[in-house]
């Protein structure tokens, strides 16, 4: 393999791994001897670690890792921050609404209504602090139950769930269903 390709391969490895990678493992993967790899990595570091570079390669003992140049952290933070503040997707809104009106509910219940998997959405709503886990249902598999948080009320600017617009009669889970839900949740 020519030098340029080996460099490229190491770049790709460090980029994709995220975690620090030891020189031994790189040597193994490329089927090269350790001193050669070490020399190429060092060259690569010289190429990368210019003062203004966005990506740096750092050495940690015998390991190497790619990371962003700390001087740009404020910008990175802004970008990631903007991502966090994007409005809820429609899928998120729907899941939130189902949780709000039926809590505590299981993932299976929500998926049955929406007809599609919603693990990702539940995760992001939890991270955003709009819903939270509410124990488990005493059924096989002990599924998690979800309910809305005080943050959710703040987000809607209401002081209690009772201020949500009431559902039309036909949309309300039936009495018996509620009873059962409570019984089985106990």
């Amino acid at each position: 393999m020519e030098i340029k390709k080996i460099q490229g391969a190491i770049e790709a490895i460090l980029f994709s791994s995220g975690d620090p990678v030891s020189i031994d493992r790189i040597a193994d993967a490329l089927e090269l001897d350790k001193p050669t790899v070490l020399k190429i990595v060092k060259n690569l570091m010289d190429e990368f670690n210019r003062e203004e570079a966005g990506i740096r390669i750092v050495q940690l003992d015998e390991q190497f890792q790619m990371c962003s140049n700390p001087q740009y952290t404020p910008f990175v933070r802004r970008i990631l921050d903007m991502r966090r503040n994007t409005p809820l997707s429609q899928a998120s809104m729907e899941v939130l609404a189902i949780v709000a009106y039926n809590q505590p509910v299981t993932k299976a219940f929500i998926e049955q209504i929406r007809g599609v998997d919603c693990s990702g959405v539940l995760g992001s709503l939890t991270a955003k602090g709009l819903i939270e886990e509410r124990g488990r249902l005493e059924l096989p598999g002990r599924p998690l139950l979800y309910g809305t948080t005080p943050s959710f009320l703040r987000c809607l600017n209401v002081s209690s769930l009772s201020e949500l617009p009431p559902l039309e009669k036909t949309q309300q889970p039936e009495e018996e269903e509620n009873d059962l839900k409570n019984v089985s949740a106990g």
Partner: protein, 246 residues
């Protein structure tokens, strides 16, 4: 979950099979000879007979459609038959194109390029935008629709399969003893009066047996008139000492 039943030898569905037959017999997709195609199709269906019923149903639906088309084509008026044939041709052309594109895309699809996870910067991820309650209400209707069609079956439907409440015998022993401390004697039937659940009934019955075995109670009479009597009568002290906590 992806239905495994789709792993039929070669065909993704009835349209796939039809395209295969058309290609194999060098038929003109735009001018299908229905009776010829139907015979071949049925041959294949028979060959696949041992396959999963679920798959077969989709293939059978197409068989029925072909049979119908053949019937219609026998009528003196040809308009409907012609229309049905064009419809099928159109569908086949469309599916053929879909397969062609899928193959082209499969060649180009590289599902093995690596990207990174977002850097782990500690953030308070709390959602800070605001919404109105009406938005939540609307989203609910979006998800549920207006009919009851989409409301999931009540948990009751599953209760037979998934719930089994376990009632401990010891809890029923306490229950029986409590009843007896008040009256010393109680009709056997009454012990079961407050419960209808099967596991409650069984646990109560076992509790009575345990108490008989432990010589704490005695059963007199038979059938409906049987009574259960506490043996060490005047057990007020028991109640106070041992079972107070319960």
């Amino acid at each position: 979950m992806e239905k495994l039943s789709y792993k039929l030898p070669v065909f993704e569905g009835p349209l796939d099979l039809l395209l295969y037959l058309i290609r194999k017999n060098k038929l003109d997709i735009c001018d299908i000879q229905i009776s010829e195609l139907l015979d071949q199709y049925m041959e294949q269906i028979n060959a696949m007979k041992e396959e999963d019923m679920d798959v077969a149903s989709e293939f059978l639906e197409m068989a029925a459609r072909l049979v119908y088309m053949k019937t219609v084509s026998l009528l003196p008026k040809h308009e409907e038959g012609e229309k049905l044939r064009q419809e099928l041709s159109g569908q086949l052309l469309e599916y053929q194109e879909c397969k062609r594109i899928a193959e082209l895309m499969a060649e180009r699809l590289n599902y093995d390029i690596f990207v990174r996870e977002a850097a782990e910067i500690e953030f308070d991820q709390t959602y800070r935008r605001h919404h109105t309650p009406m938005e939540i209400y609307n989203a609910y209707y979006m998800a549920v629709g207006h009919g009851k069609r989409f409301i999931p079956p009540s948990p009751e439907v599953f209760s037979n399969i998934v719930t089994h409440k376990i009632v401990s015998v010891s809890s029923r022993i306490i229950h029986v003893l409590r009843r007896l401390y008040r009256t010393n004697e109680v009709r056997y039937k009454e012990l079961f009066a407050d419960k209808t659940d099967k596991s409650d009934l069984i646990a109560t019955f076992l509790a009575v047996l345990e108490l008989v075995k432990g010589k704490r109670v005695q059963i007199n009479g038979e059938k409906g008139n049987a009574t259960v009597k506490l043996i060490c009568g005047g057990v007020k002290k028991w109640r106070l000492k041992k079972y107070k906590a319960q």
